[in-house]
Amino acid sequence: MSVFLLKRLSTFAATLIAASIVIFLVLEILPGNAAEIILGPEAHQDQIDALSHKLGLDRPAPERYVSWVGGLLSGDFGESYAYQTPASDVVIEALEVTVPLSVIAVIINIVLGLSAGVYAAARHNKLGDVGVMALSQLGIAIPSFWLGILLILVFAVWLGWLPAGGFPGWDDDIGDALEALILPAIALAVFQAAILARTTRSAVLEVSREDFVRTARAKGLTRRAALWRHVLRNAMIPIITIVGLQFANLFVLTIVVEPVFSLPGLGMLILHSIANRDVVVVQDVVMLLVGLVLVVNLAVDLVYAVIDPRLQARRA
């Protein structure tokens, strides 16, 4: 176990470092100095130079990289040029929207995807199965931002049940805040749930063909009991991978869905920061997302070992 853990952790760290260098270098060639953007097109070169110096933009690149990474490690995310506040404040404010949004979306995804997948597998080759599979193909093909627009059209414009966009914040009424997140969460979750349903179905079907399921049936278990007691736990192994990766994906896809609903989350933040050449914030947010992807991958690998007793033995 420990050798596996050590190996896995060192690849994780190496990829993380490589990713941070890539992010830094890519944004290094970003044209347009932040100082120019802040001061506007009429600014004088002296003013720009002065502000650049104040922001530390004239320091050599390696030095800035080290201070950026060092800052991240000590919890200092740097200063946002555009908002003139610590970047961590801006990021945390955005996370207050994006984290609940993603969590709601993950819950919808798991409930919808798992139940549809298990149902389809249980009704293999029957009408219910074919129906779920056809719907899942539609779910995969619908662009999430268009689904968002359709949801607004139906539930906000026609029915008037839910707000069309915006976010009232958590300070006033939690109910209002949650209401504002429902449609975006559905728009985010449908695509993922469609994929999860397909993965779940094929995982369950694959395990159902294993000999031990026949053994279980020969013991006198009903089809349903064999599914719950013997198939699902084995099928969970591929399902957990997908759910884990989907959590990271959902976070990233907020970039496309948040603008549809004008939600001031991480997605909107990165779009605004790119427009404002707010390089520090862009760096931080991209690093955060990439870090999340890597952490999730790591977590998925570790969870495997817990679920599948065979892996513990193999790695011991």
């Binding site: 000999d211 031990f212 279980a216 006198g220 007793p309 033995a313």
Partner: protein, 329 residues
């Protein structure tokens, strides 16, 4: 009234080429304490016959005829009632011990499972009985091994576990489908001896399926030879071995490796291959591969011809076949 009475059992399976008859009119009776061997090549219908006794056929299969357990018909019984029989009155030991156990549950849990289903007791309460069973089937250190996972056991040990699982509810009939084929040669006899002991001890009936004549000869009092979904020869094992009547049985006998055979002597083989179910000839299923075939063989399925006491073979060329066999000996 027989414990198990199978009468004119026919099973059709759905294949990519349409429905195919995998079992074509099999009949036999089994009493408590009987041991019956079922022999044939893969595709002969022996496993399908066994699975149909439990109602565990692949989806889309069609069953005709009668399977009566204590006089009660099993064919067409609702699934829920069949579940009460499986693992309880009729238990199964499968061929592949490596894959027949669920990798994510402990073996104790899996052995206890039939009891929790049929005896309404909890896993905890079943524990002592599980340990006793594991001990009985010869799993060393049973009280510790009860919490082991399947991957921590060897193939032979796993097969002992599946046997314990089959015994959990004290079934009346044990069906062992090639229980030793996947095991090392040295382990095979131990497992067969164990099954034999357990059958003698509990008085249950045994259906032992194998493709190995030697296994059947040593472990079953009666035997049936299956080919192409039909029983081509059946009778008391000793009787069948004394006067092997059907050309197919004779072929199987000639094809077995013999100890002490002169070096360089070639193993006899049966010419041709087992036909696909959908391609079976209309008359005798073996007619396309049989050396004694005459035109009449190909037109109608042969009737059961008596060979000896309680011993029949489905072959119209039986006299010639028996004469050949006598010469060969």
């Amino acid at each position: 009234m027989a414990l198990l009475d199978v009468e004119d059992l026919k099973v059709s399976l759905r294949t990519s080429r349409g429905m195919a008859q995998a079992v074509r009119g099999v009949s036999f009776q089994l009493e408590r304490g009987d041991t019956m061997g079922l022999i044939g090549e893969s595709g002969s219908g022996k496993s399908i016959t066994a699975l149909s006794l439990l109602g565990l056929l692949p989806e889309g299969a069609k069953v005709e005829g009668h399977i009566r357990l204590d006089g009660r018909e099993l064919v067409g019984r609702p699934e829920a009632e069949l579940c009460k029989i499986r693992g309880n009155r009729i238990a199964f030991v499968f061929q592949e011990p490596m894959t027949a156990l669920n990798p994510v549950h402990t073996i104790g849990r899996q052995v206890a499972e039939p009891m929790t289903i049929h005896r309404c007791i909890t896993h905890g309460a079943a524990r002592a009985e599980v340990i006793r069973l594991l001990d009985r089937v010869g799993l060393p250190d049973a009280s510790k091994r009860v919490d082991a996972y399947p991957h921590q056991l060897s193939g032979g040990q796993r097969q002992r576990v599946t046997i314990a699982m089959a015994l959990a509810c004290g079934p009346d009939i044990l069906i062992a489908d090639e229980p030793t084929t996947a095991l090392d040669v040295t382990i095979q006899n131990q497992i067969l001896d164990l099954i034999g002991e357990l059958v003698a001890e509990s008085g249950m009936a045994l259906i032992l399926i194998s493709h190995d004549l030697g296994v059947i000869a040593e472990n079953a009092a009666r035997m049936m030879v299956m080919y192409g979904g039909s029983v081509v020869e059946s009778g008391p094992t000793a009787e069948v071995f004394r006067h092997m009547g059907h050309p197919y049985s004779q072929g199987l006998f000639a094809a077995r490796p013999k100890l002490g055979a002169p070096r360089g002597e070639q193993l006899k083989t049966i010419p041709g291959t087992v036909p696909e179910l959908a391609d079976l000839p209309t008359g005798c299923p073996f007619s396309d591969r049989c050396g004694l075939v005459i035109d009449a063989c190909r037109t109608t399925p042969p009737p059961a011809m008596p060979v000896g006491p309680d011993h029949v073979a489905r072959c119209i060329r039986l006299d010639v076949a028996l004469a050949n066999m006598a010469v060969a000996r």
